[in-house]
C-alpha cells in the first residue's frame, strides 16, 4: 500500500524508502530502520508545506513526547546537586541545570523551590536520553523563559489543543483579551498557565481554552461572549 501525505497511518506502516540524495527530515512519529521509513505512532502523515519535513500528526494525544527546541512548561519536582528535575509530562523527567538561567553562576543560584513552575526550552530530546531543559537562549538571555511568577493556575489539556491555540491566527486570545487582562504561558507539552486579576477571571480563561478545542471561529466568538456574560455574575 502506498502512503501519501494526508493518509492515516498506524504504527508499523511502511511509508517508503529513504532517499540518500534528497535531504529530508523525518519528524516525530517516523523512524528510519534499515533504509526503510516506518510510522511509529498512529495519526495523520503530514509534510510541512515549505520544507522537506515529514511527520505524523497525533491528535488528542495526552502523553507528551519531547521534541528538541520546543518550549515546555514543567513543575520542579526535585532539587539535587546542580540540577533540577522537572516534570514536563514525558515518560521521563527532564533535567534543568541551575547554570542554565540568565546571570546564574556557581555562587549565584536561581531561587527555585520544589513545586515551582518553569517555562523552558528542550535542548536534548532523544529517545534514549533524559530530556534536558534550558532557560536561556543561545545568547545567554532569558527571553520569555524562566520561572513563572507566583499565582495563577496551571492545567493540562490535549496536545492538539495546545498546537491549535499557538497558531498565529487563532482568535481566542484576542477575543478574550478585549475584556479580561491576563497573562498566559502555553507549553507544547499540554500544560497551560493562566493568571488574571481575579480568580473568576482566571477560571473563565481556563474554561474558554478548554471549551474552544472543537469549535470554529464563529463558535469561539459566541462562546467567549457567553463566558464573559457569565463572568459578570461573579
Amino acid at each position: 500500500m502506498h502512503i501519501t501525505v494526508g493518509d492515516v497511518v498506524l504504527p508499523g506502516d511502511l511509508i517508503g524508502e529513504q532517499d540518500e540524495l534528497k535531504k529530508v527530515v523525518y519528524g516525530p512519529g517516523l523512524r528510519v530502520h534499515q533504509n526503510q521509513i516506518y510510522a511509529v505512532t498512529s495519526g495523520i502523515f503530514k509534510k510541512k508545506p515549505d520544507a522537506n519535513y515529514y511527520y505524523v500528526d497525533t491528535f488528542h494525544q495526552k502523553r507528551y513526547v519531547p521534541v528538541r527546541s520546543e518550549d515546555v512548561l514543567g513543575v520542579v519536582t526535585n532539587k539535587s546537586g546542580d540540577i533540577f528535575k522537572v516534570d514536563i509530562g514525558s515518560s521521563e523527567q527532564a533535567s534543568l541545570s541551575y547554570l542554565a538561567f540568565e546571570g546564574a553562576t556557581k555562587k549565584n543560584r536561581p531561587d527555585i523551590q520544589v513545586g515551582d513552575l518553569v517555562f523552558a526550552k528542550l535542548v536534548v530530546a532523544s529517545r534514549d536520553m533524559e530530556p534536558e531543559l534550558v532557560c536561556v537562549d543561545s545568547y545567554g538571555k532569558k527571553g520569555k523563559l524562566g520561572p513563572l511568577p507566583e499565582g495563577g493556575f496551571v492545567f493540562s489539556c490535549s496536545l492538539n489543543l495546545v498546537r491549535k491555540i499557538l497558531k498565529k491566527d487563532y482568535p481566542l486570545f484576542n477575543v478574550l483579551g478585549k475584556d479580561i487582562s491576563y497573562e498566559i504561558s502555553v507549553g507544547m507539552n499540554g500544560k497551560v498557565w493562566v493568571k488574571a486579576a481575579t480568580i473568576p477571571q482566571t477560571i473563565a480563561v481556563c474554561n474558554a481554552i478548554l471549551a474552544a478545542e472543537h469549535k470554529t471561529k464563529d463558535e469561539i466568538d459566541e462562546m467567549s461572549k457567553q463566558i464573559l456574560k457569565m463572568l459578570a455574575y461573579c
Binding site: G115, L117, F153, F155, W193, P200, I203, L210, M230
Partner: protein, 488 residues
Amino acid sequence: MKESILSISEKTFILSALSETRRLDGRKLDEFRPMKIHFGSDWGCCIVTLGQTKVIAQVSCEVQQPKPTRPNEGLLLLFVELSPMGAPHFEAGRQSDLAVQLNRLLEKCIKDSRCVDLESLCITAEEKVWAVRVDVNILNHEGNLVDAASLAALTALSHFRRPDVTTTGEQTIIHDPAERDPIPITLHHHPVCVSYAVFDKGNHVIADPTAIEERVSEGQIVFGVNAYRELCGLHLGGNAPITLEMVNKYATRAAKRALELVTQMKKALAEDLKNRISGIEVGFRDCIDSNNRLSLGKDNFQIQLFTPDFKKERAKRASNIDVKEEKINDEVMDDSSEDDSEPVIVSVGKGSAELVNQKKQDMKLRRKRKLQNDEGGKEYDVDESSSSEESDNLDKESEDTRKNGEPMSDSEIQVVAEYKGTENKPNENKVIANIELSGDSEEEETVLLHGEDLKNGSTEKGRGRCPKEEKMEGDEPHSRGWYSKPTW
C-alpha cells in the same frame, strides 16, 4: 509511574478560590457532581459514574464452607482494585494504601453494617453457604472514589441474583437460571458513603471533592449513612482538626445526600427490572452516547465558571426578573415560631399536623424584608431556631447576593416561584413542622423543612421531602433517627 507533584500555583489557587467559596468546576461548596448508574447485561454488574469518576462493580457467588464461628451465615467478600486504567499512578498487582483504605471503608460501610442478610445465604449449616464476592474496579479516577465505589458495590449487590437452591435430605441442587428464576440477595438497608474534604483547618468543607481538591485538602470526612439517617461508618482522614460540631453538621447533610442516592439507585434498579421484564436488551452499550466526545460523560469541563445546571437556573431566573416584581425571600417563614404571634397547629389529615403561621405575621415579615431589600443590602435575620445547616446556607447566600447586588443562588429562585404561589392564594399557610401523631411510635418526630420542602408541602399537604416520606409509604420499621433533630 509516580504521581506527578502538584505545583504551588495549583495549591494556592484552589485554596484562595475556596476562600471566595468558589470551586474549579463551578460547583457550590456543598454541591455534588451528578451520579449516574448503568447496568450491564449480566445480573450484579453496574457502572457508576460520578462526574468523570467511573467505577464498575461485579458481583459473583459460589458455594463454600462457612466459617466455623458463624456456621449458618454466608460470606460477603469485598475487593477494590485500582488498575493503571483509572489513573497512571495506580500500580497493577500491588495493593496500594489507597486501595486498602477504600477496601476497608467499603467493608465498614457494607459488611460491618450488616446490611446484607447473610443468614439467607446459608444452604446447609456448617457445610454449604453462598460466598458473595463483590469486585470493584476503578475505571477512571477523578476524585471521590469512595462515594462512587460504595454506591457501585451496593447497586451491584441489590441488582445481583443468585441461583436458587433446593436441599432434599443430603442432596443439594443448584438450579440453573433457565430452570428456576434466580433469587435476589436480601438487603436490610442501603448504606452509602458520602465524603467531604476539609480545608484551612476546618474553615472550608466541600462535598464530593475532585482529584485535585483531594490532593490539596487537609483532611477528609467519610460518612457511611443509610436512607434512615443511620450512621454505618465514619472515617476521619488527614490532619485537619475536625470538631464534633462539624461531624454532626455534615452527618446531617450526608444523611440527606444518602437518601437521594438510595432513591436514585432504587429508581435505576426498578427501571432496569422493567426493561428486562419487557424484553428490552439491557447492557452497557446504552450508556455510550454517540453524540458525545466522551462516552459516559457529557462535555463537562473540569474547569468552568458554573455548572450547566446553574446556567439553566440562571436563564430561568433571568426570565423571572423581567417581570420586575418586587419579590421577597420567604425563607424566614421557617422561623416564625420565634416571633410574638402564636403559631397554630392545624390538622391536615390522619396522623399529621401542620404548624401554621398566621397571615398577619406573614405580612409583617414580608414588609420587613421588603424594607431591607430597598435599602440594598440583603440581610437575612435568620435565627437560632433554624438548624445550623440552614442558617449557614443562608449566610452564604446572603454573602453571594451582597457581592453581586442581585440574587443568584438556586434556593432563591425556588423561593421566588413559591412567593408567586402565595400571591395567588393569599390565604395559603406555611408548613412549619410535620408532627407525627400516630400511635405506633412513642417518639414525636419533628422535621425541619427547607425552602424546597415548603414548595412541596404546599402542594402535597404538608409532606416534607425527608426520610419520613419513605417511612410513610414503605412498611419499614419506624423512627430510627440517630441525630438529635431540632425540636420545637
